[in-house]
Symmetry: C2
Subunit: 360 residues, 2 copies
């Protein structure tokens, strides 16, 4: 599918043109620490090397690469944020090392191949935004055969959770429908038009909005009520776009909590900085967005709620089938198909629950 550049800018890139938004990412200590440590604890990967920063934003990763001794850094940014990156680079006297290039990764030309590609491309639940496509493109075109990817690996995780937010959304939904019925009455009484024929469509719209859209949460680890599962593993050095177009996983999770309620499933990710097989990191670094008491990130977790919650207890077995594809209307958004079957410790099998979700 061809992507209209102008539309992609209006829908996606526009937010990245604001310092306010870059600042949010730059204030995420978990994210920052991981990239900072990955670079400065593995200076051998940068010292004297050529580096490509895919989507440099404010220029932070390019600047760190230069500070770690890179010979040359190409810092590519699609939005006008490139101008701020250039200013920041200059203020640190690295204008001879860091070359900021405004343009789409897919369009621009570099004067040479590079030793390292660094990028912070991860969206909600890893793949939202589909920005990894651009990193793959950059790798296939501009990374030397001996080159290293930063990060080098990525994984998607899921686990059953409990949370009150689902009920909140359910009650918002009920309220929206109540409101509709009042509106229908009024419109009929005052304006002679009977809207009831649109009730089903309105309900679908509201259902999608309140009940089928995955929600951002920074969960407490206690809210995870079963074993966690990896649903996707990505080797950034070899993965193709085709590998990430669809994520498909069947996994099991054992409930680890007594007498609780299964409210839904949370998805998160981690990425790793391990260098490559031939050129490993001296110090492997991990960036995780798992539920955490002190180390929450701006990514949080994406939660797919079940309505209503299901009573469960320790020892129950959940068999989950998960499929995530890109939305046809916008390749940077996702659609999820989630099926869940539960076998109680007594051996009783509950009927499967299936639901469609949207990661918007």
């Amino acid at each position: 599918a061809m992507v209209d550049k102008g539309v992609d800018f209006a829908n996606y890139f526009c937010t990245y043109a604001f310092l306010y938004h870059q600042k949010e990412m730059l204030s995420d200590r978990v994210r920052m620490d991981a990239y900072f440590n990955a670079i400065f604890q593995n200076k051998h990967h940068f010292h004297g090397k050529t580096v490509l920063d895919v989507g440099t934003g404010s220029g932070i990763l390019a600047l760190w690469s230069a500070q770690a001794g890179a010979r040359k850094v190409y810092a590519v940014e699609a939005t006008k944020m490139s101008e701020h990156a250039r200013t920041l680079v200059k203020a640190h006297n690295f204008e001879d090392v860091v070359e900021v290039i405004e343009g789409s990764m897919e369009d621009i030309i570099l004067p040479e191949k590079v030793d390292v590609i660094i990028s912070e491309w991860m969206g909600y639940f890893l793949l939202r935004e589909s920005m990894f496509d651009s990193v793959i493109f950059a790798r296939d075109r501009w990374l030397k055969p001996s080159g290293v990817m930063y990060p080098s690996h990525a994984r998607m995780w899921m686990a059953p959770i409990r949370s009150g937010l689902g009920e909140k959304k359910k009650s918002d939904y009920v309220e929206a429908m109540d409101d509709w019925y009042g509106f229908m009455e009024d419109t009929k009484t005052h304006y002679g038009v009977d809207m009831s024929i649109l009730t089903k469509s309105f309900e679908e719209e509201q259902r999608k909005y309140y009940l089928q859209t995955s929600l951002w949460q920074n969960l407490h680890p206690h809210q995870v009520i079963g074993t966690t599962a990896v649903v996707k593993e990505i080797d950034c050095l070899t993965a193709t776009v085709n590998d990430i177009l669809e994520v498909r996983s069947n996994f099991s999770s054992s409930v680890t909590l007594e007498n609780s309620r299964l409210c839904g499933f949370a998805g998160w990710f981690d990425v790793h900085f391990r260098g490559s097989g031939n050129d490993p990191a001296r110090q492997a670094i991990e960036l995780t967005t798992a539920p955490s008491i002190d180390n929450g990130t701006h990514w949080g977790q994406q939660v797919f709620f079940l309505h209503p919650p299901i009573s469960i207890t320790e020892g129950d077995e959940l068999k989950v089938s998960f499929v995530m594809i890109r939305s046809k209307e916008n390749h940077r958004l996702m659609e999820v198909d989630l099926g869940c079957e539960m076998r109680q410790s007594s051996g009783k099998l509950l009927p499967q629950v299936r639901k469609r979700y949207y990661i918007e």
Copy 2:
């Protein structure tokens, strides 16, 4: 300037594809009453006539036109909302009268010229959204020489006001800047990068967002502290796009309140249904979005705040110069240049205040 259709859909039309959004307009009693009365108290304009509804949305105005006896109604809608309009029309057994056409007004072809063009094209402060362009286009192409416009006239109003919202925004702005200074410190201490060079750009961004973006308010009439002025008058039968590309007005306002504060200026509009010179309405109807205790609308007023407020009192004279143009990046948004000079009743002239605003 050419408008990219895909971008215009992503930025503008998308919201209108939701019943939720149409419902908001359909729940605006002031709006609904005005169109309802305009049609049903002037049935002679509709009975046996052909009508074009520009941007039919849910189909409400097309349906009313049919109920008022129209022979044929062409109901044009750019978004998928057209399908709901068709369903609604069918449920009222008007499918032989109302023809719903999905497409842009600028692209579609009608089988005949029409007697009446009806449209609810008004955005915030009348002209935001620039949808009246499409109505002008429709009129010039499809309205019979003897035809009538619904509404037939429109006016933009301004007045000096007091409101606490400006100070709220000011303090939000101050907080955002305080936050930036903390962020700068942290980034320097922990990550060896000095962001101070971007402070000015961040400040500009935040200033634009918090202080220079006009705000929606439903003001109480008591918040209007001076005489009101018409800044633009539009005859919908004759206005050209050129006439509305720019709104330019110099007006005076006398302060009508003792010892108050001038916090800014509010802009609103009214439209009128008077038929045409040759074919006047039997019952002229007005739809006003002026500050009102009981008859607020979803349009509210757009407020342009001065920072800080200025002390004023009864008898002070405000000389205001107002210029509104379309934003270069998005022709549906506006930029405003506002200058204000104050002559105190003592005769003393305060220095002019000038400010740039964005209607986003």
